[in-house]
Symmetry: C2
Subunit: 654 residues, 2 copies
């Protein structure tokens, strides 16, 4: 059993993951966020888990006092497990003994609540509670077990010899799941996918094929109307179409992503090419038609779900933070299986524009939903409960909040950031592939015994030069592969003694590298206008501005400073596509015309009858989308109008 300290370790695939002991992010954008995660976010999460009583639920269970006093929603156990997973990765990354002590303390409280047969859930199974496995649609029991397993997997891979007992707890829980839901057992699935990837990962860690078989059973059962129909339809939990027959992700976006990730895991472990091909096609269709510019997915508030193709309104974009984590899980597995750099492109976009957007700079407040157009400045986030004793509404998108009644996103971000180094690079028999660009130290051994030791130096994403220093001589040639993002038209590769164009995709340098060799990739990060497929009706006549992998936005505080105007009171921000956005002193500035409109009694009229005010021409700075809402309540928009509405100046539209 190879225990690579990485979130996904398939038995086969195009690429082999590297562990946290092989890749370290040493500085820059992501190192700073990892630091905040380690020093502020993890403690913040534990504070709230205690404050809301979600860890204490396990104490009550151990003391036999449930259901009285239980607090939180039916899935609150899972937040404790995701917190443990985040701690495990962070301990693996930094070895912090204080975190190790916190980890062990929480594990002990969780373990004490496990029943002799392995059952572990604070919400079901006791007198006065629902029976075990009686509410598969909404009960989240298997979902909670899945997160327990993932915490244990993270621990096993980062501290294989630890004596805290978490892996044993997880195995007993998984064994019970296999007994209850295995052949001859309950022929159903969980309303919220998650147990599927978790069981495969536990099989990878333990070598126990029974877990893989159970995961495969769960994947195959879904899509046949196994669960009850609900008002949102069975597509909500992907129970409408079998996984291998589906053509696109649909329904609840987090559920869809977790299921797809688990299905890739099953396909890879079982060598099921048909299933893998189906999943890759689903990924492609989802990216082509159901994904926001930020990489975010899921446009519906009502059911936190994907919309139909092209339904991607920036207004009230839901784009749940957890759905972006699920998307990364899915993309990463396909990248390992197939090696296509497009998977890494989407991971990068999603990391910079959703995962980095959710937490505040201080790491103690979060977006649950990530809108692309905020029309009203929200009230400042409170650090206390609302007056009815619950915490912030999850879908409030105007301000980050410290915690939510449904608080899946903070620990999901935390576990992603703590394990982020694992997504930077991979290896194969020929060499090493760089997928994400950050200052990093990479050291691994190829199958032929060649040691690859690299230091990556870069100011990315603000600066487009990625400089790879080779630190050890190799006796034989190996290949350094570098991803060239799809947006990077005009990229250049500079190797000792040569320079060449690097077209989007992958560039490879193969040679017997010597210590001191430097390979440079120059990515053009000049700001650029981006337009949308016309079928995305909601952004018709608009342009966005991107810089490298970052989506930018116009925030009201900047517009107010420039003109006194409000983002929500602009008739038409008329940008001239002929005048490119430009970088000024590190900021990106666009030139636009800002015309206020007066409000008439009825907002519909014959074309050309609107106000004739040409507005004021301004240069306004944009901010990275991940930096918005850090300066108090504000309004914001990512998509900036270039065409007026049909109502105004249609004479100019033609």
């Amino acid at each position: 059993m190879t225990l690579i300290a990485s979130p996904v370790v398939p038995i086969r695939g195009r690429l082999r993951p590297l562990g946290l002991d092989e890749v370290t992010i040493t500085g820059g954008f992501w190192a700073q966020r990892q630091q905040v995660n380690a020093t502020a976010t993890l403690a913040h999460i534990e504070h709230w888990l205690e404050r809301e009583g979600w860890i204490a639920n396990f104490d009550l269970a151990a003391a036999g006092r449930l259901p009285d006093g239980r607090r939180g929603r039916e899935f609150s156990d899972s937040e404790v497990y995701k917190y443990l997973e985040a701690l495990a990765w962070e301990i693996g990354r930094s070895g912090d003994p204080a975190l190790e002590a916190r980890f062990r303390a929480v594990v002990a409280r969780v373990a004490a609540a496990q029943e002799p047969d392995g059952y572990l859930n604070t919400r079901f199974g006791r007198p006065g509670q629902g029976e075990r496995w009686s509410e598969l649609e909404w009960g989240h029991e298997l979902y909670c077990v899945g997160h327990l397993l993932q915490a244990a997997v993270a621990r096993a891979r980062t501290r294989p010899d630890a004596d805290d007992g978490l892996v044993g707890v997880a195995r007993r829980a998984a064994d019970l799941v296999c007994t209850v839901f295995g052949p001859g057992g309950i022929e159903s699935v969980c309303g919220h996918a998650e147990i599927e990837p978790a069981l495969v990962e536990l099989a990878r860690v333990t070598g126990d094929e029974r877990y893989l078989a159970q995961a495969a059973l769960f994947v195959e059962r879904r899509g046949h109307g196994t669960l009850r129909d609900i008002e949102f339809g069975r597509s909500y939990y992907q129970d409408d179409v079998p996984v291998r027959e589906a053509t696109v992700l649909r329904g609840h976006a987090v559920r869809a992503g977790y299921l797809a990730a688990g299905a890739v895991d099953v396909a890879v472990e079982q060598g099921d090419e048909e299933l893998l091909t189906a999943l890759a096609a689903q990924w492609g269709n989802t990216v082509a038609r159901r994904t926001y510019l930020t990489g975010g997915v899921g446009s519906h508030h009502q059911d936190e779900a994907f919309g139909d193709d092209w339904v991607l309104p920036p207004d009230r974009a839901y784009s749940e933070t957890c759905a972006s984590v699920a998307s990364i899980m899915f993309s990463w597995r396909l990248l390992l299986a197939q090696g296509d750099p497009r998977y890494a492109d989407l991971i990068e976009r999603t990391l910079f524009n959703v995962v980095a957007t959710s937490p505040s700079h201080e790491g103690t407040a979060f977006f649950y939903a990530n809108t692309l157009h905020q029309r009203r400045p929200g009230a400042p986030a409170t650090n206390g409960p609302t007056s009815n004793g619950t915490v912030s509404p999850r879908a409030s998108s105007s301000q980050r909040a410290p915690w939510f009644e449904v608080s899946c996103c903070p620990p999901n971000v935390a576990r992603t950031l703590a394990s982020l180094a694992a997504y930077v690079a991979t290896a194969d028999d020929e060499g090493v592939q760089l997928h994400q660009y950050a200052p990093a130290a990479i050291r691994t051994t190829l199958p032929d015994g060649t040691t690859v030791a690299l230091d990556v130096e870069t100011g990315y994403p603000r600066d487009g030069v990625i400089r790879v220093h080779v630190r050890e001589d190799a006796g034989t040639p190996w290949t350094l592969s570098l991803r060239v993002p799809a947006w990077a038209d005009g990229a250049r590769l500079v190797v000792p003694g040569a320079e060449e164009a690097a077209v989007p995709g992958t560039v490879r340098v193969r040679r017997a590298f010597r210590a001191g060799d430097v390979v440079e990739l120059h990515l053009p990060v000049t700001p650029r206008f981006t337009a949308a497929d016309p079928r995305i009706d909601a952004v018709r006549g608009c342009l966005a501005v991107e810089r490298g992998p970052e989506v930018l936005c116009l925030e009201s505080v900047d517009l107010a400073a420039a003109s006194g105007g409000r983002v929500d009171d602009i008739a038409a921000v008329r940008l001239d596509p002929a005048v490119a956005p430009r970088a000024v002193d590190g900021a990106v500035v666009v030139r636009l015309r800002c015309a206020k409109t007066t409000t008439g009694p009825w907002p519909y009229a014959a074309p050309g009858t609107g106000a004739a005010d040409d507005g004021e021409e301004l240069e306004v700075p944009l901010v990275a989308y991940h930096d918005w809402a850090e300066r108090g309540p504000s309004t914001m928009r990512v998509w900036l109008p270039v065409a007026a509405s049909g109502g105004q100046r249609t004479d100019r539209i033609r």
Copy 2:
């Protein structure tokens, strides 16, 4: 006590309503719908109320067998009451003895369930049920009483001498409400407004001022955080801001409309000009910023609520049918109070484009939500329950459905259609005002004793000529007022011997009319392009086509016939605003270019890099929005692109 057979009979106001005995719709668009309502819809509703057990709940209550066997949601009693109200108006309109028998049969079953102290609700108050008035946020108890009262009011006004007992049932229920929620009682309100207008109407019918005082108490209590906070926020049930301090409608759109209607009733009866002025301003702001082109309101699926200003996406427009009924209730009350023809304009728009859209031509299937853009053809509506035993999801917008788990809309449409004649005309001391145009017979007596007898002859809305025939001589002058809709630029008034321009608003003809006099209003119903305020971002670069009061739409069946194209597969329907839509053989045809786009791997790109296909130029017929989805599953859009997306041909956008 004057019992005018009309839904709203205020003690004072600019205009006096006419009863169903004074106005009859004699033919045309609305008479046809009234006929379908009478002959098909009412029986359909009763069939489903029986099938779902919602009437039987009263039988169970009377037999002391509840809560076992109770079916339906907590508000299912109200659907029975709305059905009774619809029957009462229809009996008042047509005198149909078969309906009279059905009415009495249902009333008897309802009355048998009333408890000795007046309490009447099948969901609360018995052992094994929630306690009376214990769940004011979501229990809908007072809401149900409100609909009971409205049914009784309709009965009292149309059959004042009936011995069925419904008015007595309602009075006992209302008396209990006044005792329980009056001064010294429970100081709260219902999570769903409705009791407010109902109590005022009952006061008008009975002369009992106690009901008015109680309604005023309910109106004043709301908005002070009286109810518990919820995830949607207290604005959901308008408990965020006191009614007289609010500036716009917000929260759940049906709740908002019913509350506003009740508040106007209170303001009018109590002579509270401050409150009335506040409500009129709320109406104005709501119409100016939060109303769809169809008159529909409420853009959110999640909470069936108003969005922020300008959030009016045609995609997944919610525009609940009941919210349009609530909007008409609010507008009609303001029209009676203040006389401004803008209120009648909105009523007309809402009637033609939401109320007429919801029911199928056969009157046996309904839209609950009324989207303005349907991207996928839905499955044909089933006449049976779905597999989990419930009926169609309410928010499915692709096909009308025979019934819903939450089935408020069918009986709401039925009561509106049955009482529709009451909205056609009013009177004041000077004469008669025509607000809605339909073939009609009107006969009333003015305070000075003058008899006004008119026959309206028109092919409206397809034809714009409204011909008013005076049928009796008047000894003294009186004034005939005709509404000129805001869209009717170029309207003409033709009176015996003269013709003049009729500017939007009201035109008046004052004279001592003689039998045989004819007054004609000529409204221009040539099809026209309409554009939106640029702040309605979701329809930027689009135009709609209207004809008279009707909104038109492009339906896929017509596009397929013309070109094989699909509405959901159009890159840009590029309409030429210089080429007006035109009427051809009674249909409206637009000339457009239809270019298909191929789907790339990522839907965002540099401006101008999209496909260069100029597409095919076509003439395509449009259908009235109220007629869509009558030819099988289809896709549809009201707003048609004129500008390409920023992604395509931005060179032409400037």
